[in-house]
Chain length 238, copies 6
Amino acid sequence: MRPNNRANDEIRPVKITRHYTKHAEGSVLIEFGETKVLCTATIEEGVPRFLKGQGKGWITAEYGMLPRSTHTRNQREAAKGKQSGRTLEIQRLIARSLRAMVNLEALGENTITVDCDVLQADGGTRTASITGAAVALTDALSKLVEKKKLKSLPIKSRVAAISVGILNGTAICDLEYTEDSNADTDMNIVMTQEGHLIEIQGTAEGTPFTFEELNTLLALGKIGLDALFKAQDSALSQ
Amino acid sequence: MRPNNRANDEIRPVKITRHYTKHAEGSVLIEFGETKVLCTATIEEGVPRFLKGQGKGWITAEYGMLPRSTHTRNQREAAKGKQSGRTLEIQRLIARSLRAMVNLEALGENTITVDCDVLQADGGTRTASITGAAVALTDALSKLVEKKKLKSLPIKSRVAAISVGILNGTAICDLEYTEDSNADTDMNIVMTQEGHLIEIQGTAEGTPFTFEELNTLLALGKIGLDALFKAQDSALSQ
Amino acid sequence: MRPNNRANDEIRPVKITRHYTKHAEGSVLIEFGETKVLCTATIEEGVPRFLKGQGKGWITAEYGMLPRSTHTRNQREAAKGKQSGRTLEIQRLIARSLRAMVNLEALGENTITVDCDVLQADGGTRTASITGAAVALTDALSKLVEKKKLKSLPIKSRVAAISVGILNGTAICDLEYTEDSNADTDMNIVMTQEGHLIEIQGTAEGTPFTFEELNTLLALGKIGLDALFKAQDSALSQ
Amino acid sequence: MRPNNRANDEIRPVKITRHYTKHAEGSVLIEFGETKVLCTATIEEGVPRFLKGQGKGWITAEYGMLPRSTHTRNQREAAKGKQSGRTLEIQRLIARSLRAMVNLEALGENTITVDCDVLQADGGTRTASITGAAVALTDALSKLVEKKKLKSLPIKSRVAAISVGILNGTAICDLEYTEDSNADTDMNIVMTQEGHLIEIQGTAEGTPFTFEELNTLLALGKIGLDALFKAQDSALSQ
Amino acid sequence: MRPNNRANDEIRPVKITRHYTKHAEGSVLIEFGETKVLCTATIEEGVPRFLKGQGKGWITAEYGMLPRSTHTRNQREAAKGKQSGRTLEIQRLIARSLRAMVNLEALGENTITVDCDVLQADGGTRTASITGAAVALTDALSKLVEKKKLKSLPIKSRVAAISVGILNGTAICDLEYTEDSNADTDMNIVMTQEGHLIEIQGTAEGTPFTFEELNTLLALGKIGLDALFKAQDSALSQ
Amino acid sequence: MRPNNRANDEIRPVKITRHYTKHAEGSVLIEFGETKVLCTATIEEGVPRFLKGQGKGWITAEYGMLPRSTHTRNQREAAKGKQSGRTLEIQRLIARSLRAMVNLEALGENTITVDCDVLQADGGTRTASITGAAVALTDALSKLVEKKKLKSLPIKSRVAAISVGILNGTAICDLEYTEDSNADTDMNIVMTQEGHLIEIQGTAEGTPFTFEELNTLLALGKIGLDALFKAQDSALSQ
């Protein structure tokens, strides 16, 4: 039995709080059960040098965990003087996912930086980050429309992300920490609202997985993602 | 007139939420008006090398601001690869203040690390950090007593901190951002519950200040600190 | 038509030269067409601190590109003072893949470090690295058997890796640089000799991809991987 | 009894040698007893980016200790690759103090960098640095007047700095190392020649201090500062 | 007897392979016996800031060793986050030597960066680097002539480099690793094709050397250098 | 004519002040004309890891320039976060030279660190550093004898260093800055008191030099070095 009697295709309770902090153009606290991530989106005029003069915008992301967001304290990356490979890998994933949801030409020469900071970790921080960041990004883009900087929202199709995995031979959706740390296979899926894939990253931590298991996991992920899109819709409609 | 019609010796509404996150031995969200800081206290066995074998404990602190806790986004220190002088200065101040409230011999060879992370900044982040950290530290020390690791709370006298300053020739207490950024003199006072001074740091940003003004500021600070100690008492009694 | 008239499911000519340099316990130059990577495996006694005393071994990997392995010169990471996110991401992928092919308990408290250094890049450097590293690792493990440090080769199932992608709507296998830089979807697949999946990473650089396209890509990857396993077999049998 | 039979309000012999090295626009060796600091002031045209186009000047400072200026050797910060929190804190204090003594509008778009390098440390290196730097800065500003770059000295009021503290219950002025390392309270005061306060930083290293003790320390500091201003006057009149 | 029965004034077999990799404007694999270094030369328009507007070109160099080019694995400098003193010293030597062979005025505002990466080390990596880099640089300069960017080759006189040393009281030329690691004196000589000295660096690792021994070493070096110039001539004439 | 009418083989006035600062076991201010370097020698028990248990001592060196020791200000290396290649090269040279003068077996498992900090630069800072450091090292070793830690001075033969060069076709000795910055060839020679060579480093900055010129330079260097040894003798006999 899963913790809290969850069904294998059931995600944890999702809570999306918009306008969580006041300075950022988009600010969302997203909770996947006990995992809590603060996602803020900042609009700045101009683009990085490699894009200058092309009339296109840019979206980038940074990710961090507060030192005691985890069971035992992790050393602060600012104090260590460098970000870990895991951090860099996650923030590259978040940024790619968000860029895929936006029409960068329509954004014009603006840069949006999304910061995902984990206040409390209980598995799935990268999927919560992407799902919450998509809402914060939507809010920031709406600000540009309100201020008449853009005519319409330059969103192609909103994204969300879910983790799926195989634990003791069973495929399950939205793993929490106790599940994640024992799973044989761990996969993250980023999908658009229209059901197309943006990113898929699956890793066999223990036993390798078969092509059949991959398809089972994908189907399970689709169910979780549909639930997440509903949670995003509901938050954005308030 | 001050924002929100505050009197010159009046502090902002203070809100102290204990057990804000679940992993840390002490976890406090402190709010000084719109300034919000998450303070967590982590207990680890052992002490840094320079203290080994002396039977004494150690308390250290780290401070950080989320990139968009401020009006415009600050570059993430983990990405820059180093902490600014301001950050180092603040975390040294927090750590000295907390060490002054604890009997380190009675703590035994344990280290407590307090992390103060600013979720939203509106002036006074360092004084909110110290005031909230004192509560988180108290909670963490209580855990050591509960677990029979210590016989009694090794606290000499709890601390709190307040800022005072001179704005347009008037001495005021607990400056918020719009006040702080225009003040001529800015002073931080750390005091014990018994009314003794732990730390005093005053800086003339513009016009120098006189010895008389210094005494006015100290008196104003004492009023604010008494209000903060009440807020701490109230939070800890729940 | 693909460059060199390759069929969509056809990999580039693969050349695996063992014992390419003389100091390393395993040293392989692998060529995927014009992509050339030198993979060396180094055996050292002992394991990292987090594994001490568990009787298990460890495998780690590092990846680098010579500054002018590419069309235009990249700044040397040693001179910049840090490895890029891309580099860290690739070397974490290589290491995970190699660890999946070895029985770490049977390896005993030894660490094997695999260095993959790209001498010339033309697309697919990470898949060439994994495929060549698997051979270098096999050679290094064989040395431990020869020297009677191990009774038998602690290999569960050798691994290889291939890239697949969608270019102008067509799924193709083993993309070279001119294809890779224009592809809409780019996917890397790491598989065991027995046909089980170790890692799958797919990214929509442009248009998102469908679940059907994903399955087409996986099938294409399997064909390429079978060819790579033959090339490894052939090299190891000499 | 204090070392060398000093009275509690008596500073150590002060020696200020101008033109100590030949390249800098201002170069002063200041000695507070056995503490020796070389202070050089460098004029450069232009200002940091955040000040460009405002017609104002800037003053900044850096501080360092030679590795064996102290009883035991400290690791060289250039070799460690970063400056300590203490170093950053001190150089920020020096810079703020010096900026307070200059009319930055009158300075025009020039930057003056003051380097304070401790050749020999025996307590009070930061107060000696500020007191010597004020003279070096004055010499550098005089050069700008001599060269007709400025019409008159843009000095509002020269600054000096002194340490005071409580040792074994007694308030004393200008602590040397053996006193400083045992003091309960340590305070640094930066004052203008006109007797106004620029900066005050007091820390209870052991027992907290009372508001009365604070006033005693301030009075003692004033006596020491008056002696320092005389020493500066005398040096500048030669 | 020397390894492989070499005479004291005899260099190891030299092999120079031009066009070793395809992207660089000059790409040479040079082998001094078992020492193998890949030297690539990259042309970029423009010059460093300190040379702008002077109509002169610039030549710079970087040096690296692959982690397992040596008997035991060296930590990767990119992973350590800094280049060692030895690396910096060698790349400064290579760059100075190459600049001496080129008429920088005739080169115009172009920068050529030469990368020397050691694939396998067996003594003499810096002399092999200089000797191979001189050929790669020649090829790159020829490209500029071919493309009509320059009218003629801006080469004053090609350079080469050799090591000489005293081992067990005997002066020998072109030391390989087993000799080098036991030599009392180790000297590197960089000379032009016309027999003039560019650089000489001699170090007594054990017993100091006399002025007479110095002259013996120089004579020996000249013999080795003549052989190297022939090898360069031969490679360049193909 | 040379500045100050110096003859071509004449060194600048040398001044060696022992016991310049009070904490270090050896502390020497050496002046070569206007070049002033503070050399301190620190004794610490124990040796670096690679020497442990061999009963031998170690000597190491660090070099730095105060930011405004030069005509224009150089950025502080501690602030930049790394030492330049030039700095690392010089401190490696100083350390090798000093190790050559000491019998490391007789020193026992002690480490001596010599810091050479340039207070004012006017050419020849590395040769002044070595010459002054040899005296500071002698003083530190004498302390070990005084304290009965060693039976006798473990010095094989004291060292000194001089620069020689070719300026406008003329060979000259001990170049000052205006000469050094225009010289075609610049050479540094480190020699023992007995006239044997420890290190020789010659560089053609402009025109290459001949073997004959090299011998002229060496002869000139010997004259300068004899004068330096007399200055060392004189200082040590006081």
